[in-house]
């Protein structure tokens, strides 16, 4: 067991700030690394030290492992927090940290590697007794094998890239006639995106919800869960609104899904914070999708309803400390919703980097804002478009929605386009308000909007 004096944050933007806040609360010094494009970023300002590690593109800087490690060496840090994205799920990076005697704040490299391979992860989960969707246990060897399997599972099926994510290399196939073409396209996409054409096929669930369980595990075999997040509101497989608890879960189902996630983590020797993602069908059956071996963008909704600080727990268990609480000590209070404020066109989702000319952060009861934005900040075009996470908390879901509407109304971000008007539209949507939605929500939302005359009709930007 060690005590970290100084941590390097190998990330940028809101999550780098988020991690700095907790380090400050724990009395740990922080080192920010940044590209030349991020000299004026808040994480650079609020960290105790800052090192420029390269040019503006991610590959020159935030993905540049030698630069990050060299920055860690010259600042003599004890540990690196990778945040999400960039190097967060690189088992190679985690190994290098280990080799350099710098603690990687996350699970062991072999666990990252295992969970990063969809086929291997599926196998491990099956062995742990976690329900998985009927489908191929191994990468498909031929189209014939795939067809036979699809027939066995029953249509519709989905073809996925083994190394995939974010919707690339995915194809839904509803009839056998479509199969050949879909499989070829998926293989091409997979090869282009992930340098591996390996595919597998599984049952396609029609109106599923994306429900994920937040887990916390230490290096001594203790593991608990902090309940679920419902992340079904997605566009192009990117989450944009998340909430906790899920409107679809009963306490009994929550307990079952939580116990399943914990069992999965125990099985693979997981430590640190992690997320087990499930597909939940309309009958309350849930199936393992994947495990994210890092802090997630949407972790604040869980923090709001549990009062836990997930980053603090990551750091404590990385120091080798046992989890300080047991499953029965976990609180669940109220309801929380997060809206991702992206610098993009709310209708076309085209990125909208540039100068923030006017800015007002909402405050008051039950509002949390995680951001690195400020008036005068220039959103660079090189990185993802997330500029702020607006999170609300209230005793009930109804008040949480009202609060989010209010917070969106008084949040001012000018000079660039943002997703604020889109979120305002969703908060007014009767299906969202009723909690009746699946991962197809955004698609259906835009269809309804089109019928009603477009987003502009309800006050879009």
């Amino acid at each position: 067991m060690r005590r970290f004096r100084k941590i390097l944050i190998a990330n940028r933007g809101e999550i780098a700030c988020r991690i700095i806040w907790t380090c400050k609360e724990m009395g740990i010094s922080t080192v920010a690394v940044h590209s030349t494009a991020d000299r004026d970023s808040l994480h650079v300002r609020f960290a105790d030290e800052a090192v420029c590690i390269g040019g503006p593109t991610s590959s020159q800087s935030y993905l540049n492992i030698p630069s990050v490690i060299a920055a860690a060496e010259i600042t003599n840090v004890d540990a690196i927090h990778p945040g999400y994205g960039f190097l967060a799920e690189s088992s190679y990076f985690a190994e290098i940290c280990e080799a350099c005697n710098i603690k990687f704040i996350g699970p062991r490299p072999d666990v990252i590697r295992l969970m990063g391979d969809k086929v291997e992860a599926r196998r491990a989960m099956k062995e742990a007794g976690v329900p998985i969707l009927p489908g191929s246990p191994d990468p498909l060897k031929s189209e014939d094998e795939a067809r036979a399997l699809a027939r066995e599972i029953g249509y519709p099926v989905i073809i996925k890239a083994a190394a995939g994510g974010g919707g690339r290399g995915m194809r839904i196939v509803r009839t056998e006639e479509e199969f050949g073409h879909a499989m070829q396209t998926a293989a091409t996409e997979a090869a282009a995106s992930f340098r591996s054409a390996d595919l597998y096929v599984e049952k396609f669930v029609e109106n599923p919800r994306h429900v994920e369980i937040q887990v916390l595990a230490d290096e001594h075999g203790h593991c608990i869960h902090l309940g679920e997040r419902d992340c079904s509101i997605q566009r192009r497989h990117q989450k944009i609104i998340e909430e906790a608890p899920s409107p679809a879960l009963t306490p009994e189902l929550r307990e079952r899904m939580g116990a399943t996630a914990v069992a999965a983590c125990r099985r693979v020797g997981y430590s640190s914070a992690g997320t087990v993602e499930f597909l939940l069908d309309e009958d309350g059956q849930f199936y393992f999708m994947e495990m994210n071996t890092r802090i997630q963008v949407e972790h604040p909704v869980t923090e709001m309803i549990t009062l836990a600080d997930i980053v603090r727990n990551q750091i404590l268990v990385a120091e080798g400390k046992p989890l300080w609480y047991k499953q029965e000590d976990v609180l669940f209070v109220g309801h929380s919703i997060e809206c991702r404020i992206n610098a993009e066109d709310p209708q076309t989702f085209a990125p909208s980097p540039g100068l923030i000319t006017a800015y007002n952060a909402p405050g008051g009861p039950g509002v949390r804002l995680d951001t690195a934005a400020y008036p005068g900040y220039v959103v660079p075009p090189y990185y993802d478009s997330l500029i702020a996470k607006l999170v609300v908390h209230a005793r009930t879901r109804e008040v949480a929605i009202a609060r989010m509407r209010r917070a969106l109304e008084v949040m001012v971000v000018e000079g660039i386009k943002t997703t604020i008007p889109l979120h305002q539209g969703v908060m007014e949507d009767p299906y969202f308000r009723a909690g009746e939605y699946s991962t197809r929500f955004m698609e259906q939302f835009f269809e309804r909007r089109k019928i009603q005359g477009g987003l502009a009709a309800s006050g879009g930007a």
Partner: protein
């Protein structure tokens, strides 16, 4: 963590952090290294040091180099002939002779009242009157150095790491002030992840400045040498 031991020895003499101290420092610069206040890759961010470079600028330094630069650009872009600004902390005046003379040093006189800015205006004053020498000494940012030291080509660090002037602690420095460099002359080593990365001059000329001390950590883009063509 099992890797703890195997990484303790540093190729450049001893343990991390002490190797630097062991390396020869006497020749760190030909013209008084201590005066140059070279910028550290690893910088403990004191108020004064961090301001000019980092964004959300504290109002204590009501005006920094970036803003001055922007201001000057605005001034030119809009063809102004006079600009004055004053508040409790600061007073700035820019003016240009309306006669469209193509002079380079068109009298930027910034009179900052905060101690921090005093450094910068001292620098600008030096740049305007005495010309070359003064500016880059006080200003760390690459761009500023490039623009003010008219004649010098700046060799910057291509990577993050630790700067070494010689191949070994007891060896001579690769280059000193006055050394002639060609494109393929090795000017220093940057150590990163136990690897010694040789930095080439990639220009020709004579070394006029050494901005960094031996054994000092440097960040990406940090000025290392000034070369006179």
């Amino acid at each position: 963590m099992s890797a703890n031991d195997q990484n303790q020895s540093q190729p450049h003499g001893g343990e991390r952090g002490t190797g630097a101290a062991a390396a020869p420092q006497a020749e760190a610069s030909g013209a008084g290294a201590s005066e140059r206040a070279p910028r550290h890759g690893r910088r403990r961010r004191g108020r004064t040091e961090q301001k000019p470079q980092q964004a959300p600028r504290r109002a204590e330094s009501a005006l920094n180099m970036d803003e001055l630069r922007e201001l000057t650009e605005l001034f030119t872009a809009h063809g102004l002939t006079d600009f004055e600004f004053e508040n409790a902390d600061i007073r700035v005046r820019l003016s240009r002779n309306p006669a469209p003379a193509a002079s380079g040093a068109q009298a930027v006189s910034a009179q900052a009242l905060t101690p921090h800015d005093a450094v910068q205006s001292a620098a600008s004053a030096a740049a305007t009157s005495a010309g070359a020498e003064g500016a880059a000494r006080a200003v760390g940012a690459t761009t500023a150095a490039e623009s003010t030291e008219e004649e010098l080509h700046i060799i910057t660090s291509p990577i993050v790491g630790t700067f070494y002037r010689s191949p070994a602690p007891t060896a001579d420095a690769f280059v000193k002030v006055g050394s002639r460099v060609e494109h393929d002359t090795v000017v220093c080593i940057i150590e990163a992840m136990k690897l010694m990365n040789e930095v080439l001059a990639e220009t020709t000329g004579t070394v006029a400045k050494v901005y960094v001390e031996n054994g000092q950590p440097v960040e990406y883009g940090q000025p290392l040498f000034g070369v006179k063509k």
